[in-house]
Symmetry: C2
Subunit: 395 residues, 2 copies
Amino acid sequence: MSKVNACVIAGGQCKFGVREASYIDMVQEASKACLDDLPDLKPRDIDGLLFASTYVGRNSCQVNPAPVVAERVGLKPTSICTRVDVLCAGGSSGILLAQGLVQSGMAEVVMVLGSEKLYTPERWQIQYGEIAASDHDWDAPQGIGPPPLWFAMQAKDHMKHYGTTREQLAAVSVANYKYGFNNPKGHFQNELTIEEVIEAKEIAAPLGLFDCCPLTDGAAAIIIASEERAKDLSGRPLVYLRGGAQVSLHSVTANWPGKHLGDWPHMKLAAEKAFERAKLSPEDIDVAQVHDCFSISQIIELEELGFCKKGEGGPFMASGQTNLDGKIPVNTDGGLLSCGHPLGATGIRQGIEVVKQLQGRAANQVKGARFGLTHNLSGVNVEHTIVTYGREPKK
Amino acid sequence: MSKVNACVIAGGQCKFGVREASYIDMVQEASKACLDDLPDLKPRDIDGLLFASTYVGRNSCQVNPAPVVAERVGLKPTSICTRVDVLCAGGSSGILLAQGLVQSGMAEVVMVLGSEKLYTPERWQIQYGEIAASDHDWDAPQGIGPPPLWFAMQAKDHMKHYGTTREQLAAVSVANYKYGFNNPKGHFQNELTIEEVIEAKEIAAPLGLFDCCPLTDGAAAIIIASEERAKDLSGRPLVYLRGGAQVSLHSVTANWPGKHLGDWPHMKLAAEKAFERAKLSPEDIDVAQVHDCFSISQIIELEELGFCKKGEGGPFMASGQTNLDGKIPVNTDGGLLSCGHPLGATGIRQGIEVVKQLQGRAANQVKGARFGLTHNLSGVNVEHTIVTYGREPKK
């Protein structure tokens, strides 16, 4: 038995934003957009479903959602029908698991569908959910939750140790909003200036309103198939999954693995593992979607991924190196800052954008892109997930 | 690249029952039992963790539990660290996903750990959780939840169409409790008579107290590794994962796929798919762990798996065909009825028992067992999951 290669054959998403819609409404929109992306693919061809969502049980009161989602989008899976959850990285986790199922021959065509209904008029529900997402025994009782105090502390440490400036943080928001301007399915379609970012309402110093991704509802779907089925079904250039990494070294902020909060060795390890497994290096990557839940995150991620030297993420951003004519175009559809971050859907949205880039059909196209990656962090920065994509399979 | 085979190399569980323990206490006990099962394996050898749990967010207030569990059991995963959830089949789902990761070469050694803290003095929490596990739009508002009314209706239909008797239902509980008698880690260690089962408190006619699995807390862990690592690490006979199936054809009871409620074509399809993928037939199976959440479930499952003809599950049970000297020993460690059913942990407990059987070290040993399977149904019987195991790999 020789190993099968796994390809992405279709993708689609619903409009992200504050939606007057249930999670089911949104998965139906995303699934339809995904199936419309490849009309030759019929729902009966799909033998697996992985549904990524964290808050569906809390906010939508649906436990065991995978069979419900399968029925509502017209699938009858026979290989796998399971929910996956790792908060902000659920979608990417689903893509890695689908790659495993397809490459091992355990499934042929798997839809990975992610959705989150986050906005409810009841603010306590959101805040309580965020706190529940921290380590419940140690961090949550101290008020340490994902947004945004904990990331403000990381920003301060990065500024202290590397001289990163407020303007350099703002450059992330400006760059990503600029890319998001022509993405009608993102949360926002407006450009920002450095001044607007700096003068915006302070959320947790040094982070202001536009340094933080918004609270967003949304869903996205992507389909992974064996290379053989991909060749049958898709007329587009093939895009291969080349492997990735999901690294978790700690769950309690007091066990922080770095020398300070601007040093993310768990992400560095994830990058090393992913590049090693994908037989790629940072220099091979033509386009990247990284987890810009806050402006500071993207600066540190560019460093830990090896796109610039450690500590130089601020000047790298400020000099426009993530623009289309820069060293490495990043978050080319707007990222979390402009598209919003419906947790389980985010890794899938990122994957769709990378695939479009490698197929030459992105709105903000990187010329001749052959290799791309996506990155997510989860929770209070306790886990890093990287997925790599290429126009050719790993040899 | 040639495909890797995946083996089970270790397993262990905590004591199942009504536990004065948190889910973390229980995963630590289970993980220790699992690591003690193979002392040459060190936590640093484990590069992946899949954590199966449905109610950890609701009952234990921990969202994104995988990194928390990894830290508390001493793992530092670099390949995968994700929660999976498909209610009663989460553990089996994790095993299938781990098989995919290992066979594809994306991970080398993966722990699948399942846990559920179900019992709380607040009954509403349990009942509300059960209702949330039905299709929330259609079934839950009508009061259709997993236990036990819906299964009583299935029992009635099976009795009506096939002449199954109350005594035959009771024979399931008697047989499984008998196996559970010498399993100190199960919920119960007592034998029952047919009369005791029939005369017990009625829960939902025709099902009485002992026809229903109890509300149980627990955790279980199993480790899947590449054949190469298994040969290095384990001195025991190798047990291979040969593939399986997870089938979901509907989520709303009104879309029931069978001719009546005693007819489970979705389970029949799961069995056909699993046997086809495993290159096995029902006749090859030496030992099976099936999902006896209710006595009626096991009767129908024996039929749909092909161990007896359709409609003959009742007489098959009553004539002792699932005993050690019968046609197919079933639920040899006590099953859900005697061990209890801590959802995410159940498929793992079943897998551990099958592995012990194939290695010749089970408490109720089936002589010379070479092939085994586990089966779970999920929710209001909306999904069926089958995992197959063998002393030799699939050719």
